[in-house]
């Protein structure tokens, strides 16, 4: 069994990479490996939007990531610097910045790039999905 981490740079629906990352993660657990961490960076932070509302006949990417967390304990880490400047704010950041709403909720978690380095060092494989 290997511990996998994914690094996702691609925005949802704009690029195949976001869907490919989710399909890869599902395949990792289907093959008996551990899908330990997904780190959302660059435009990939948009995958964590609590406000995502795709048509019902399309894959709901944020739901897919949440399912992975609930069924397999996958950490869903969103870079706080990349997220804030793109409008991904949890309740406390939204309050701190006086925003009208928040757009990110658990199990997604805002975190620093240090957690990416930690995921890289503590996983057997880290795979990047980029547009």
């Amino acid at each position: 069994m290997l511990n996998y981490a994914l690094l996702l740079y691609a925005a949802p629906y704009s690029h195949q990479a976001a869907l490919s990352a989710l399909r890869f993660a599902d395949t990792v657990v289907a093959n008996g490996h551990r899908m330990k961490t997904v780190f959302f960076y660059h435009d990939g932070v948009h995958n964590a939007s609590a406000l995502m509302a795709p048509p019902q006949d399309e894959v709901h990417l944020a739901d897919g990531w949440r399912r992975l967390h609930h069924e397999h304990g996958t950490e869903l880490l969103v870079c706080v610097a990349a997220g804030l400047r793109r409008g991904l704010l949890d309740v406390s950041e939204a309050n701190r910045h006086g925003a009208v709403s928040h757009s990110l909720e658990a199990p997604f978690a805002l975190t620093g790039v240090g957690q990416l380095i930690d995921a890289m060092l503590t996983s057997d494989r880290m795979i990047t999905f980029a547009p």
Binding site: Y41, H42, A81, G112, V113, L116, I117, M120, T128
Partner: protein, 128 residues
């Protein structure tokens, strides 16, 4: 002409590959952020500038008319974070009519075969 290093490059803990110019996208800024944070976490970090990423190193940069902050201030911080292993693609330099004298930091130009070896020998590689 650019002198190409003949000694084998020494791999670091993490190789960060930078392929985008300072303006136009956020790739370079966010790539350099990862390099700086990794160094702050005690990792030995090497940077490889490829393609238009070489423009990041051009002298005389400033926050420009595009309204972006640019990346020269991040590059100025590399030394403070002990990131002093900078490689550039020799072909990328030649294709752009540049030499190492045009760049703001000391770099080691690498031939294509050495770039391939660099990627193979690093335990971790992040590409931006």
């Amino acid at each position: 002409m650019t002198d190409v290093s003949i000694s084998r490059p020494v791999p670091q803990d993490l190789l960060v590959v930078l392929r985008h110019p300072p303006h136009g996208t956020h790739w370079l800024r966010e790539g350099l952020d990862v390099a700086l944070v990794a160094a702050a976490f005690g990792q030995r970090v090497g940077l490889l500038f490829q393609g238009d990423g070489i423009y990041a190193l051009l002298k005389g940069q400033q926050a420009g008319a595009l309204g972006q902050k640019g990346t020269h201030s991040q590059l100025a911080m590399l030394e403070m974070y002990d990131i002093e292993t900078l490689w550039v693609s020799a072909r990328g330099l030649n294709e752009r009519g540049l030499s190492t004298d045009d760049l703001m930091l000391p770099v080691v130009p690498l031939e294509a075969s050495a770039v391939t070896e660099l990627l193979q020998r690093h335990p971790h590689t992040l590409i931006f």
